[in-house]
Symmetry: C2
Subunit: 453 residues, 2 copies
């Protein structure tokens, strides 16, 4: 085996199609239900908020879905992204494991999110949409959609959870630099926002409220649609470009993963790296494990229920079957804002329920410690979300050391932490504490799940 640390594909080897795991599921996904009738919805029910190409992808069972040429043209700005062998980290850990990471921080937004914001903007543009409305929590998604909108000449309106809007002014600036409009949510612009403000004038907002505002705005404004940055099938589909590249890169490295690790919030970066390999397990019976790492303070997969639930707190969205903490559950404030969602991608949920994905939960301080260890060894400061994947990979590597076996570990380093230095400051100053979620609040949120049968 060579001493290479970086495996980079030629542009010509960049995937020309995304991989759709719905083609290979051992059981199909439970249907999405209409919130009123509780009957399965059809494409027409989603036409008000998504372009038709995206809706078709949401339900498609074709294995390969072509990446449009204009999307590939833009992907090529930073794709294929590098795969690294973490030789210095292996040395520090003194582990027999071989650790690889796919690095998505090379995108112009610093994360994996443009993998889906670019095609979503493209499909909207193709169908004559003028404006895309969305929500953002920590700001990664809003930034990436702002970027995509700018490249395709679309207006972008981002409802940003008010507490983040205030705490992360640089994220707002990033979006505005690309010409997007960034609005603190709840706002006076929508009925949902005004209703909240009337009851709670001091509301600092939530992802659920921001989703409601963005959906409402998309529905009531001509030539406008809505876009989501995670959770849905088409989003995970777009992210598979990372796993497909990683497959070819592992071949270049003359290796194959025994375990694939990623962090999960809505589930898109994990699905992106894992699904092409999971497809091989399903089709070719390859022996390979999948570890989804979530924050212990928002433990959707490890403490949630697998049930039908709403995607937002205002209950405007359809009902999807997923692991959920209940749409009214509010996790304690922690720095990995991208992992604070109450639900989980239906595809990840389904495959976890079927036993193909092993969820693990870690507290944020141990994740920051892992991230700093990684940074010192590998030279890259991970985003707080990505620190969860780093922690998961390190745990796997230490297990190898303990058992005296060499295994190949692949994880997704989904973004850099350049916008998150305050979190590192707080950690190093000892101000970051592990907050437990409120057990009774979780019980209440779970008891409020909509009844479906």
């Amino acid at each position: 085996m060579s001493d290479r640390v970086k495996f980079l594909l030629k542009e010509a080897d960049m995937p020309k199609a995304w991989y759709n795991i719905q083609a290979d599921l051992p059981e199909p996904l439970p249907p999405v239900l209409h919130p009123g009738t509780k009957q399965p919805i059809g494409p027409e029910d989603l036409a008000a908020i998504f372009p038709m190409a995206v809706i078709q992808q949401e339900v498609s069972t074709e294995r390969e879905i072509e990446i449009p040429k204009p999307v590939r043209q833009i992907y090529r700005q930073w794709r294929p992204s590098p795969l690294f062998r973490a030789r210095r980290l292996e040395k520090v850990l003194d582990t027999p494991a071989r650790i690889y990471y796919k690095y998505e921080g090379v995108s112009p937004a610093g994360s994996h999110k443009p993998n889906t914001s670019i095609p979503q903007a493209f499909y909207n543009k193709e169908e004559g949409v003028k404006r895309i409305c969305t929500e953002t929590g920590a700001g990664q998604w809003g930034s990436s959609l702002a970027l995509a909108g700018s490249l395709f000449g679309l207006e972008v309106q981002v409802f940003m959870v008010k507490v983040s809007f205030q705490q992360k002014p640089y994220r707002r600036t990033f979006m505005e630099t690309f010409g997007a409009q960034c609005i603190a949510s709840p706002s006076e612009l929508t009925e949902s926002g005004r209703a909240i403000l009337q009851q709670h004038p001091d509301s600092t907002g939530s992802l659920g409220i921001a989703i409601s505002e963005a959906v409402e705005m998309a529905v009531k404004t001509p030539n406008s649609k809505y876009a989501l940055g995670s959770v849905l099938n088409h989003v995970l589909l777009h992210q598979t470009v990372t796993g497909l590249e990683a497959q070819k890169q592992m071949e270049m490295a003359d290796d194959y993963p025994d375990v694939v690790v990623g962090c999960v919030g809505g589930g898109s970066n994990f699905g992106g790296i894992a699904f092409p390999f999971l497809g091989e397990r399903l089709r070719k019976k390859k022996k390979i494990e999948f570890v989804a790492v979530e924050p212990a303070a928002c433990p959707t997969l490890t403490k949630g229920l697998y049930a039908y639930d709403f995607g937002d707190t205002a209950h405007l969205t359809p009902l999807v079957k997923m692991f959920t903490l209940g749409s009214t559950f509010v996790p304690p404030g922690f720095h990995a804002g991208g992992l604070r969602y109450h639900g989980m991608a239906p595809l990840i949920s389904h495959l976890t329920k079927l036993g193909y994905i092993n969820p693990r939960a870690f507290h944020q301080t141990e994740c920051f410690a892992a991230g700093i260890l990684f940074a010192k060894a590998e030279g890259i400061i991970p985003a707080p979300e990505a620190n969860h994947a780093v922690k998961g990979a390190i745990e796997e590597a230490l297990k190898c050391k303990e058992e005296g076996v060499s295994r190949t570990i692949l994880f997704n380093l989904c973004g850099h932490g350049h916008f998150d230095m305050q979190a590192y400051r707080d950690y190093m100053d000892g101000k970051l504490v592990d907050q437990a979620y409120d057990e009774s609040e979780l019980a209440m949120a779970l008891s409020g799940l909509p009844s479906v049968e």
Copy 2:
């Protein structure tokens, strides 16, 4: 010509040697003088602060200097860096010009600085040094040396100009994440620092003071050396890896630059991109222009004198002949902190004096406007320093349009702006104003230049 936007070399095509323009100078550089005797200094005069390998590079006239293998191993983490054809920007400008940019923001520190921090750390490590002391203004250099120190197991101590230390806490956090010690300068740790604090207890520091503290600390601490992130010959030498890659990438694009543009502060990123091409002009009489863009508020090349001067305000450094505004000149506060130096690399100064480099000065608001135009078209937010190069390139492209001629423009996009969103915020809020330097202060600083003959 293809429709490609990215030109990426194979790892195997990464340069194995840096290019030393001292081999091709039409006239040799004026000697560096001892500050006391005013006689040319020898290598032994610098041995207290630099490792011998670096001192040899400083005076070498060999054309090619090998990049050590361990340095190339780390370079490979992000090198070869991509060269982009700015097709979308060309379209927005409606110019017949072909615009290319070399993108150094892909490094783990987000700028070109690791190109020299890595070899500097390597040479120090090789010679048994335990600790490197340095100064930093805006923080790019300190961050990059912290990164390099972490990878080679060296302690790094950074004296950061106090006003930046306070205004840019994230930069300090970045350095500390890599285990470096970051100290607000002036500090109580050095005689130079204490002397300043006694006279001016509220001093917010300056690059000159920070240099004095770092040099003093390096000299008086066992096993310690000093490192500089720009200005000196060896630093520019290390940066030529960018221009050497760009030469091969322009070949891939089947094109050759008519003009090479870069921003200049100390001169290292400009030297890095320009020198390999300038060497071809010197050796092969290639017709090619070089434009060095500086801030109008710190106009070293356009308003300074070409004279012997000190590198620091405390006058601890040797005397070098360079364009200078005088070592006591303090430019008005502006956001491109990396361009606030009173002097200019002796090599850049010499070649400017000889007529090979055309300096231009722009105000910061027009540079931010150019940067935002670039971001919207190309999807990358440049660092404020890099905005000066963007502005210079856009001006060249508009000149092509005016004259109805197509020329090939290459510029160095030396870093991304992810750490500088406050500057963009201020610009968009109309709070960024163009400050003129104080004419009488400049006259006074220039009149205080040391007399040499």
